[in-house]
């Protein structure tokens, strides 16, 4: 009797864990697009840099620690990754993207695509220099997991990997924090006003240029934070190809949710994560034999949503006319 219920719980939790990873990958992207109207192709690369930076902190300082010590070091690593990658984002906005606001939006896509090439290759040079494989996931970072996120937890008769529960908790925490920032703080109000109508906001005395920089840094920082979380997940791990592997799902989530809408992004992340979890389960059970099924489904969701409802789940029809 526990069989069916346990399976449902297992699939649900793994779907939610994937959802929280997808939400983490996409939050920064949607924040940046919402305010600046820039589709940041370098987002995946920023996530990748974050994963390496957080992994480096963990490997150097927290290699032996376990229990509370590891949690403290993880928080430190996540903060370092967020700050550093956020700094890279701020530099990108001030140094490059600011020059292109008056050009057609395609040019911002192109620019950030070029930044991706540079960041990926820089990281590849660093990784090769230290004798690591850029392709395989960085085992040293994976190995810094403390024991309590490594094993399985028994809930309702189901055996659930503790890592998935950790990912869900982390994702929920970050989503709530960003939501609180946007709705409960004065600066969040400014950001929302800027997303609504940046000309009006600047007419009312908001220094929109500075808000742009801050939000770009914040979005990039969220990418770094996502990297810190992915560093521990054996399905992702810190590697150079992580850049394009996270960029594509992040795009899907952001587009499906409606570009630039926070609520839509979270809903879409749950949708995509659950579909991924369920199809992965079907594949593991041998019900579906096509090995790329979950990836295929993710992109089919993208195409389907764009055909039926181009503005996305929570978007308004005129968002595209930015």
């Amino acid at each position: 009797m526990t069989g069916a219920l346990a399976t449902v719980v297992e699939v649900f939790v793994s779907g939610m864990a994937k959802a929280s990873l997808y939400a983490m990958m996409a939050l920064g992207l949607t924040l940046i697009f919402g305010l600046l109207g820039v589709l940041n192709f370098a987002h995946g690369s920023l996530t990748m840099v974050g994963a390496y930076v957080a992994g480096l902190v963990m490997v150097t300082f927290a290699a032996g620690s376990s229990g509370l010590g590891a949690v403290v070091w993880f928080v430190v690593a996540a903060l370092v990754a967020t700050t550093l990658v956020g700094g890279v984002g701020a530099a990108m906005e001030v140094g490059l993207i600011r020059k292109l606001y008056d050009r057609p939006p395609i040019y911002q896509i192109l620019l950030t695509f070029g930044v991706t090439l540079v960041l990926d290759e820089l990281m590849r040079i660093v990784v090769l220099f230290y004798g690591q494989q850029p392709r395989a996931d960085w085992r040293a970072a994976l190995g810094t997991k403390p024991s309590f996120v490594d094993g399985n937890v028994s809930v309702l008769g189901a055996s659930i990997p503790a890592l998935e529960l950790f990912e869900v908790a982390f994702g929920v925490l970050v989503v709530v924090a960003v939501w609180a920032f946007l709705t409960q703080t004065r600066y969040g109000l400014v950001v929302r006003a800027g997303s609504e109508d940046d000309e009006m906001a600047s007419a009312l005395g908001v220094d929109v240029r500075r808000v742009f920089t801050v939000v770009f840094a914040l979005g990039a920082g969220l990418a770094g934070l996502a990297g810190a979380l992915l560093m521990w997940d054996p399905a992702w791990g810190a590697s150079v190809p992580l850049a394009s592997e996270t960029l594509l799902p992040a795009f899907v989530v952001v587009i499906v949710g409606g570009l630039g809408t926070f609520r839509g992004t979270v809903i879409a992340a749950v949708l995509v994560g659950m579909v991924d979890g369920v199809t992965t389960y079907f594949f593991n059970e041998g019900i579906i034999t096509f090995s790329g099924i979950s990836e295929l489904m993710i992109f089919l969701i993208l195409v389907g949503v764009l055909v039926v409802r181009p503005q996305g789940i929570a978007g308004q029809a005129e968002v595209g006319g930015h």
Partner: protein, 446 residues
């Protein structure tokens, strides 16, 4: 008689937008005795020069390498690389044809490139129904283009309801669906992730480019199975034959696209890019124009993919269907000149030259062998920071890492030279090279 024909050609050309109305009037008024052949040759003097330059390149290359040794070998791309520049340049041009001229960024263009590549290889392996394994390459190449065009009509009829970022994303979505599907479809080969190769049992000879059915007018391409010919004093190896045959197909495709771009059809595409609402208000059914352009562009992308697979005799999902392949076409277009048609070919030539110059193996020369040859050993082995020698520094930071520097160049182009190489040249000359060069030559003669 000739006069009538020249007038007629001018009229036709005027209608197709080849020469602007003023020049036609001036020419027909002044040079009425000039034959249409000469007039045509003069209009295309820039094209002729470019074709001639590419035509002598392999000979020039072997001559310079024989004379200059390391220096020429290090800086000039090898003919093998140039063949790749041709077929991928064609793909980049087809990308530019839709993205640069209509302004709709087709970020899933790799889908059509991959369609072409996969189709040709699968036909050769006898895996496509109704087409026997010994179908001539020229036939399967054209069919590959047609299939890509049909796919474009399907994708486009859905995607062109959207614009801007959304259009880029939905085409990307379609391409990724295809990528995942072809990557994991067991029917294709025993290990579809590594791609599909042409079976050597079914196809011992190289793919032939020429007129299908006429054996004397065909030459096989490919590094190992290509034909070698001796003609007069020329001794052409398989590499050079592949270079010329692939170049020939690319040339024909370029002229087909060039004609379209300069036709009224092409004018409407530019109108769509500049102001789609106005184009629609003037009375054009922009949806149909966009769809037509998309299909034509996909046709040439499919042909490019077929050439790519034909030369290499294999195709894999990562080198044909992945979204970074579209990214490469984008890179070539931006560096060469977005919306210039010929520019992406030069952009990709630049890209490949840098990659080869900084290549890890140093095959065909490269930076490090050159330095080893010309700098004294003490400089190459000189210690820099932390015990790293100068040579090792180059090894670590330069060799095999061309994307870093190309990415930086790309960013610089986007910010400072949005027109790209060819766009910049056109800006300096005040018009296309094809138009300005004859005028300049005429001024010299006077």
């Amino acid at each position: 008689m000739f006069l009538w024909f020249a007038r007629r050609v001018s009229r036709v050309k005027r209608r197709w937008g080849v020469i602007s109305t003023e020049t036609v009037d001036r020419e027909t008024a002044v040079d009425t005795d000039e034959s249409w052949v000469r007039e045509y040759a003069r209009d295309h003097v820039a094209h002729l020069l470019v074709v001639a330059a590419f035509g002598v390149y392999p000979l020039l290359y072997s001559l310079l390498v024989a004379l200059g040794g390391g220096v020429a070998g290090a800086f000039l791309p090898r003919p093998e690389t140039m063949t790749a520049v041709f077929y991928f340049g064609l793909f980049a041009m087809s990308f530019d044809f839709i993205s640069g001229y209509t302004g709709y960024l087709s970020f899933g263009h790799a889908a059509f490139y991959g369609t072409g590549g996969y189709f040709v290889v699968l036909v050769a392996n006898g895996k496509v129904p109704l087409l026997p394994a010994d179908t001539p390459f020229m036939v399967s190449m054209v069919l590959a283009g047609v299939l890509a065009a049909l796919l474009a009509v399907v994708i486009g009829s859905v995607s062109f309801r959207l614009s801007g970022v959304y259009f880029a994303m939905i085409t990307l979505g379609f391409a990724q669906v295809m990528y995942v599907f072809m990557r994991d479809w067991g029917f294709l080969s025993s290990n579809p992730r590594d791609g599909v190769a042409v079976s050597n049992d079914l196809h011992p000879a190289g793919f032939e480019i020429g007129i299908p059915g006429v054996d004397a007018l065909n030459l096989a391409i490919g590094p190992l199975r290509g034909d070698e010919i001796e003609w007069l004093f020329l001794d052409l190896g398989a590499t050079e034959v592949s270079y010329y045959m692939v170049g020939l197909v690319v040339l024909v495709c370029y002229f087909a696209m060039q004609r379209m771009v300069h036709s009224p059809f092409g004018r409407v595409l530019v109108a769509i890019r500049e102001n789609e609402e106005r184009a629609r208000a003037v009375g054009y059914n922009t949806f149909r124009y966009k769809l037509g352009a998309f299909a034509a562009s996909a046709f040439f992308a499919g042909v490019a993919g077929a050439l790519f697979a034909g030369v290499r005799r294999s195709v894999s999902p990562d080198n044909s269907l992945y979204f970074l392949v579209s990214g490469d076409a984008l890179l070539a277009s931006i560096i060469g000149g977005f919306g210039t048609l010929a520019g992406p070919l030069y952009g990709w030539l630049f890209d490949r030259s840098v990659v080869e110059f900084l290549s890890k193996t140093g095959a065909g020369g490269g930076l490090l062998p050159l330095l080893r040859e010309y700098l004294p050993g003490s400089v190459v082995e000189a210690q820099l920071v932390g015990g790293m020698t100068f040579g090792e520094g180059i090894e670590v930071f330069l060799n095999g890492h061309a994307p870093l520097y190309l990415g930086a160049v790309f960013v610089a182009f986007v910010v400072y030279v949005p027109g790209g190489l060819l766009g910049w040249v056109r800006n300096r000359l005040g018009g296309t090279v094809a138009k300005q060069l004859p005028a300049y030559l005429a001024k010299l003669r006077r």
